[in-house]
């Protein structure tokens, strides 16, 4: 049963959606269209000349094994960031939901990291793990572990994942906590009376009822990991060591703004756009089926 609200006439609904349409057109359709157009050329940086190359930029990119490897890096990075930030957030939300005293304080403190910009978060984590003066590096050294993300690819990946996920945990935590508090107590109490333990209640009642929130966060976090983690990568590793942390969006930046290769950069944006659109379609088609609203 769906409720449909119908308007009489055309102008009122048009006027109501116009602001959204205009914003989308100016900030999305226009730049996206420009990117698609530019991806067909090799321009010089100053815009003095443009050479039409058709799909040449895409051929150049896809024949580059390092660009193809960047897809795998991005997949690993996005999966880790999403799983870590959502997993930790859910865990903390469940704990905070059970708190009776002081829950307000905990909630406020847990939300703080969201206010930290990704680039700043990157610098904070970089300081703690600095190979020379980092606090955590020093403790690891005491335990006999030689931390060196400057040369060790796995450590570098771990560090950028933690730094990217950290601020995101707050955001996810807020949504999970709101979701948990919206679950009627009576349902959980009824299950408890029937003898269901915490874990059983969580698995069979709480988690399914949270699924709309989880699904929403999944989509949003994947988009975050794909696009907004640029600042963290830029400050911590610049894509290194070797190419261990060069994710797709970082390569868009470095080819476009370090290399002034705007054709390749535009082509990469188009590929990235298509990839994220595809992922979102997949998420809605296959995962949303399992969501109970």
């Amino acid at each position: 049963m769906e409720k449909r609200i119908t308007f009489k006439g055309v102008w009122l609904p048009l006027a109501l959606i116009a602001p959204q349409i205009v914003i989308t057109a100016v900030f999305f359709f226009y730049p996206a269209g420009q990117a698609i157009w530019q991806s067909l050329f090799i321009p010089d940086p100053f815009g003095l000349s443009m050479t039409y190359v058709g799909l040449g930029n895409f051929e150049f990119l896809l024949s580059d094994p390092f660009y193809r490897a960047s897809f795998v890096t991005t997949a690993i990075f996005s999966t880790l960031v999403t799983v870590v930030s959502m997993g930790v957030a859910l865990f903390l939300a469940v704990l905070a939901d059970r708190l009776i005293k002081g829950s307000g304080t905990y909630r406020t403190l847990l939300i703080w990291p969201y206010a930290v910009a990704p680039a700043v978060a990157g610098v904070l984590w970089l300081f703690m793990f600095n190979t020379r003066v980092g606090v955590i590096t020093w403790y690891l050294g005491q335990l006999g572990y030689d931390w060196n993300h400057v040369l060790n690819e796995n450590e570098a990946m771990g560090l950028v994942v933690v730094a990217s996920a950290w601020g995101r945990i707050s955001y996810n935590f807020l949504f999970f906590l709101a979701g948990l508090q919206a679950i009627p107590r009576s349902v959980i109490e009824a299950a408890a009376i029937d003898g269901a333990r915490f874990w059983t209640r969580f698995r069979t009642i709480v988690f399914p009822l949270l699924s709309p929130i989880t699904f929403f966060l999944l989509v949003v976090n994947v988009v975050y990991a794909f696009f907004e983690t640029f600042g963290v990568i830029h400050t911590i590793t610049s894509g290194g060591p070797q190419q261990a942390t060069t994710i797709l969006v970082y390569k868009v930046y470095s080819d476009g703004f370090v290399g002034q290769d705007l054709g390749s950069s535009a082509a990469q944006s188009v590929i990235l756009l298509a990839l994220v659109a595809l992922l979102t379609v997949i998420q809605f088609k296959f995962i949303e089926r399992r969501v109970h609203y």
Binding site: I42, P43, D44, P45, F46, G47, L48, T51, V53, F60, D64, F66, T131, R132, V133, V150, L151, N152, E153, S238, G239, G240, P241, Q242, Q243, S254, D255, F257, V258, G259, Q260, D261, G263, S264
Partner: protein, 433 residues
């Protein structure tokens, strides 16, 4: 009505007065902050106070890459400054931008004495005919920094000969045997250990005189000389004798804290090391391999130059010429050299600094000048002029990291860097032909 007319008259009078006494104002965009930013502002203030016809307005636009991007974006929007600071790796990009930049020698006019400038400094920025295209502003060259205390504490004579890498290798052995955690570290690995290493041994970094001959250049730094050097460095890295700290100048923190015995870094590191090091340090010439060459050639510069952008009036170009002449004047240039540790751009400024006794009071500050000017530059040691070079350096960084980590041998890494870099050079050639 009457009041409106008189108001208009006043406005008109003000406007005309403004025109009558107007100074020609020019914009200068640069990438300096901190102490260097203050020194730039000081230069500009001195210039503005020295005359009343022209006024230079300096603004900081971010780091080197960001400043270049700001200039490019401004040009596309028709809002470009008269003077734009561009780091040396952006030289080929700027040179190729005919119609966006105006060569410095044209701006300076007929009585511009290009011979007053030190050949190996300006050489990076001249046309094949020797005409100055951009104005060398801040230039430095790599040298070897030595922590004398750390050598002495580990039973090594601090005056030990470190002129060749062979000798350095022996000292590294002794340091490692004595248990020193960081015998050698470096900043700017591609610039020092490939670009300068090639020039210093008169070996091509790229074909076509390192790109000076045309955009159809190909990288050539995978020849036996460079492979031998990177191979040796790789072995030192595996043995814990060479500590890799990062792609930029992260190693500087380790050296300044007194942890590292030897450090290859720009001569412009002087101010920072002098301010922070609580040990006896010394500047030595960059080592060379005596097995490869009897005498080293010359090193090449890093840093930035000032490009004059197109699209301004004749008066504004006169102002630019006046400002560049001011920067070249001996007093200003000598002061800049002494304050910053950057190389002097004129022979006169270098002479004046020597006569003032600055080199005697600050031993080692002339090493960079001597190292640069000892020999007349060859086609292999004039500089580098490669498109997309900032990105090629990124590729070199990646491949060298593979060597330091022990994942690749030197030959494989350099072959791969050459192949990947050549692909970018071909794209640059297409974009600019």
């Amino acid at each position: 009505m009457k009041s409106t007319v008189s108001a208009l008259a006043i406005v008109a009078a003000m406007v005309s007065a403004d025109v009558a006494y107007a100074q020609t104002e020019i914009e200068f965009w640069h990438a300096f902050t901190g102490r260097l930013g203050e020194l730039v502002a000081e230069q500009v203030d001195t210039f503005n106070a020295s005359q009343s016809d022209y006024k230079v307005v300096e603004s900081h636009k971010g780091n080197y890459s960001e400043t270049l991007n700001a200039g490019i974006a401004a040009f596309r929007a028709g809002e470009q400054p008269e003077l734009l600071m561009v780091f040396e790796v952006g030289t080929a990009t700027m040179m190729a931008a005919e119609g966006a930049v105006r060569p410095v020698f044209e701006v300076m006019g007929d009585d511009f004495d290009q011979d007053a400038y030190i050949g190996s400094v300006k050489g990076y920025y001249t046309s094949p005919d020797g005409d100055m295209l951009s104005f060398p502003y801040n230039s430095s060259t790599p040298v070897l920094w030595v922590n004398r205390d750390l050598l002495q504490a580990n039973g090594i004579d601090p005056d030990v000969d470190l002129s060749t890498w062979e000798n350095v290798g022996e000292v590294l052995d002794s340091l490692a045997a004595a248990g020193v955690d960081c015998p050698l570290t470096t900043a700017w690995q591609s610039w020092i250990h490939l670009e300068n290493m090639s020039a210093y041994h008169d070996t091509p970094f790229a074909t076509q005189d390192n790109g000076f001959g045309g955009t159809d250049t190909e990288l050539a730094f995978n020849s036996p000389a460079q492979v031998a050097h990177i191979g040796a460095m790789g072995e030192w890295a595996q043995d814990g004798k060479f500590i890799y700290a990062g792609r930029r100048n992260e190693g500087g923190a380790n050296f300044r804290a007194g942890e590292c015995a030897l450090f290859t870094e720009s001569s412009a590191g002087y101010a920072g090391i002098k301010a922070e090091a609580e040990f006896d340090f010394e500047v030595r010439p960059l080592p060379y391999w005596s097995a490869l060459k009897d005498e080293p050639q010359n090193t090449i510069i890093g840093g930035a130059s000032l490009w004059v952008m197109e699209g301004h009036t004749d008066e504004e170009y006169e102002a630019v010429a006046a400002f560049l002449n001011f920067l070249s004047s001996t007093d200003i240039q000598a002061k800049w050299h002494q304050d910053t540790g950057y190389l002097p751009i004129t022979g006169a400024a270098s002479e004046a600094t020597r006569e003032m006794g600055f080199y005697d009071e600050n031993p080692g500050t002339d090493i960079a000048v001597i190292q640069m000017t000892a020999n007349e530059p060859t086609g292999n040691s004039k500089g580098l002029r490669l498109g997309s070079f900032d990105q090629i350096r990124g590729i070199i960084d990646e491949e060298l990291e593979a060597v330091w980590a022990g994942d690749k041998d030197a030959q494989a890494a350099l072959d791969s860097a050459v192949e990947r870099g050549n692909a970018l050079l071909r794209r640059f050639e297409r974009a600019n032909n």
